[in-house]
Structure formats: structure tokens, C-alpha cells
Symmetry: C2
Subunit: 213 residues, 2 copies
DNA sequence: TTTGAGAAGTTCATTTTATCACAAAAACAA
DNA sequence: TTGTTTTTGTGATAAAATGAACTTCTCAAA
């Protein structure tokens, strides 16, 4: 069952919304509630759930706990996900320190850089030489890597990642990575995001819908 | 002429690719070249250009310089774009220090926080109290703001931004902001991005296309 | 038990988005 | 000139996503 990326993004959104609802004491939730929280229509919510075989009660809606559990399972969030970061510049360091990941079951195992001044092999989350990358990810079974190096090194590092067995790359470098067929690449480009905002602000935005990350 | 967001993202991509091609010495470029660089089809490139009235020569392709100029103009990149950042946590600080913006004609004027320990009013790019936000953006005519505060404060700060006249918000908080009709919100949610990667990696990704930031 | 209302689940139509295919234009060569 | 090639520009076509509407089930109250 091959799923659409947009649909998966919505699932993540639903999960976030559900966690908030749960912390507010909600036990049950209706498609309309989730739709409001995620900024979509209730049809969409029900259809998304239907795609994944998620089912509720025809009158009582969905049980919050069950739904969170179910979506987390689909997203693979029931087991700890190990991640490494390459590039200890501004962005890389910020991501190393970002504590939001842990709550989401994502564990940053290590950072890597080529600059010896940045090494810190003894820290709880160590910063290691890039030469150690291959061995590290293989011995720890890491499949996901964050690429936060300058654009000139991005292509080279992405090849290293792929050859070391990385299967998913979150790319912060402002270039288009051409990955292997079994490697997923997702890019975040801050300048592109800002250019978008600038365009729509200048265009006198007419209620542009909020877009996926 | 109301434009599609995806289309604008592609324009940004084309522009980035063009800059690289230019630095390699290219003077002319064909739709096929740009398509390869941006990871789309040549038809798509031509159709995007057609939407904006960008036109080339029926056999000679497009002039690189002219095209960069044209796209930059459409994206509003020919004048300096002023931006402020609210929230001087990990992400906010990293964005303050990020030097990639300047090359793209984006100028971070100031950062804001509620924590007096973070103030630095005399720095070249000052960090100011959040109370000064409204006055600052109004006196400087700032229309774009980056929201990098914890989720609990995100809604409150976004309301402040909107009431102060901000028209575009780049949101890093993991919640769905509900903006006014004339305010554009674009969200970057790191956890959602990683969850996506995790899902497709676990699903044994079959050449998933790289996606927009 | 019956009835009515509320909400899920599903189908269908609409709208949006991307691809294909081809005619018209430009450049070049003979 | 005239023909040939190359690439654009766009209309037609296909595919995908969305939203509305309909059907079915469940619960609760009379």
C-alpha cells in the first residue's frame, strides 16, 4: 500500500492535534474536531483514516488514546528512531540541542563534522569526525541522517551517507540532492520558504492556506 | 493573477539552479536543463514560465542573466527584504547567525525574546524585549516575521505579530496557526519532516520524489 | 421497542495539478 | 531562398486531490 506524502503529513498533524486534545482531557474526538485542529475538512480526515483502515464508532467518534497509538504505529513512532546529524554549523548545532525530538521518540545519537575544533567525543551526544561516520551508522544501525553542511559539501556528504547505508536524508542544504532509488530525501530550504512568504505577502495574500512544513 | 504555492516554490528552485549554472559560466539554458536541476519535467518548466509570461527564444532557450533577473523580480528579491525573529532559543539563535540569508537579499533586522538575559540591544543585529516588537516593526516597516518560540507561547506571539502589522509568518512552532485573512503563514515542523522520512524509510521507499521544503 | 439525531464511512462530482503532444518560431545549412 | 532541425509555447488529456452529498450504523430518549 503505497501512500502519498501529503497524506502522511496530515497524519502527523492529526497526531499532534490529538496529543494536545489529550492533554486537555479529551477522551473522544470527532472528525470535525480534528479537521479544525489540522486545518482540513472532516471528509478529508475520515478519508485519510479510511485509507489506513483506522475506524471509529458511527456515533461516538474516535477514542483519543487509541487513535494516537494507531497513528504512532503507522508512523513508526512506537520504537525509538535513531538519527545522526552531519554538519555542526548554526543549524546543525541548534538541532543537536533541540529537545523537542525526544518527546517524539526521536533520538539524536551523534553529530559529525570535519573541523577538529568541533569534536567532542566524550559528550553525552558526541560530536565525531566525519571519517567515523560510516562505521558509526553501521554499528548503530542508523537509517536516518540530517544533512546540515554548506552547499558546496552537500553532494559529497550525501553520497557518503548513501554509501554508508543511510535510507532517509533530511536535507537543509540549498541544493537538490539526487539520491539512490531506495533513499528518501526531504529538503528544507529556508530561503525558499521565505521567498514564498515574500511573494504572497507582496501579492496581497488572499487567505492563502497554511502549507505543509 | 493568483498563483499556486507549488509553482512559486518551483520558481525559487529554478532561480537557485540558475545561479549555480551562471557560476559555472552558462549564458543560455534550455527548459530541459532547468528541469533536470530542479527535478521536474521540461514541460513543467515551460508551463511555469508561461504562467508568469516569461518567454525565451524558440531555438536558443533562455538567457540565464535575464531569467534570474525576471524570477527575482517576481519573487520580490530585487529589493532588500526585512525580517525579524521572535524567540531566541536554539532555532531562533541559529537563524540569527545564519549567513545564507544575506546573499539572498534577506536582512534580519532584530531578534526578540521575553528573557532579559538574552537582550543585547547594542549588537549589530540587536536582541530586544518582546514589548518593543510592535513599535520596532511599525517604525521599520517590517512585514515578515519568523516565529521560533515554544508551542505554548506560539499562539499568543502570532497574535501580537498580526496585530502589529506583520503580513507573513514563518512558523517553527509545532502548532497550526490560525492567521487573519490577509496574513500568510508557512510552517516548518521538524518532527513532522522526520516522521515522514521515517515512514517512507520503513515502508521501503520506492524512489519517492524529493519534496518541497 | 421505536424513533430520531449524530457521526462515521463511502461514493461521486468538481477542481486542481501535471503530462503529453504538436504547431509555430527561430537558427542554421545548403 | 528552401528545407531541416531544435526548442519553445500552449491546448488537450490524464491523473490526482479535494469537498460535498449520501448511506449506514449507533446511541439515547421517549
Amino acid at each position: 500500500m503505497v501512500m502519498n506524502r501529503k497524506c502522511i503529513i496530515r497524519l502527523s498533524r492529526y497526531k499532534n492535534a490529538l496529543k494536545r486534545l489529550k492533554s486537555l482531557g479529551f477522551v473522544k474526538v470527532f472528525s470535525g474536531n480534528l479537521a479544525d485542529a489540522a486545518g482540513v475538512t472532516s471528509s478529508q480526515v475520515r478519508k485519510d483514516f479510511s485509507l489506513f483502515g483506522i475506524t471509529g464508532n458511527r456515533r461516538g467518534g474516535y477514542r483519543v488514546d487509541e487513535l494516537i497509538e494507531r497513528i504512532s504505529h503507522i508512523l513508526g513512532k512506537n520504537e525509538l528512531q535513531k538519527v545522526v546529524i552531519v554538519g555542526m554549523g548554526n543549524i546543525g548545532k541548534a538541532l543537536m540541542r533541540y529537545r523537542g525530538f525526544e518527546a517524539g521518540g526521536i533520538k539524536v545519537l551523534a553529530g559529525f563534522d570535519i573541523d577538529p575544533a568541533k569534536y567532542n567525543k566524550l559528550a553525552e551526544v558526541p560530536i565525531l569526525p566525519l571519517e567515523d561516520f560510516r562505521e558509526f551508522v553501521q554499528s548503530h544501525g542508523v537509517k536516518i541522517a540530517i544533512l546540515a553542511v554548506p552547499d558546496v559539501s552537500a553532494h559529497h556528504v550525501s553520497e557518503l551517507m548513501i554509501s554508508a547505508g543511510i535510507k532517509g536524508i533530511l536535507n537543509f542544504a540549498p541544493i537538490q540532492l539526487r539520491g539512490a532509488d531506495d533513499v528518501v530525501v526531504s529538503s528544507i530550504n529556508l530561503e525558499v520558504e521565505l521567498e514564498n512568504l515574500i511573494y504572497f505577502v507582496n501579492a496581497g495574500a488572499k487567505a492563502e492556506p497554511e502549507i505543509e512544513a
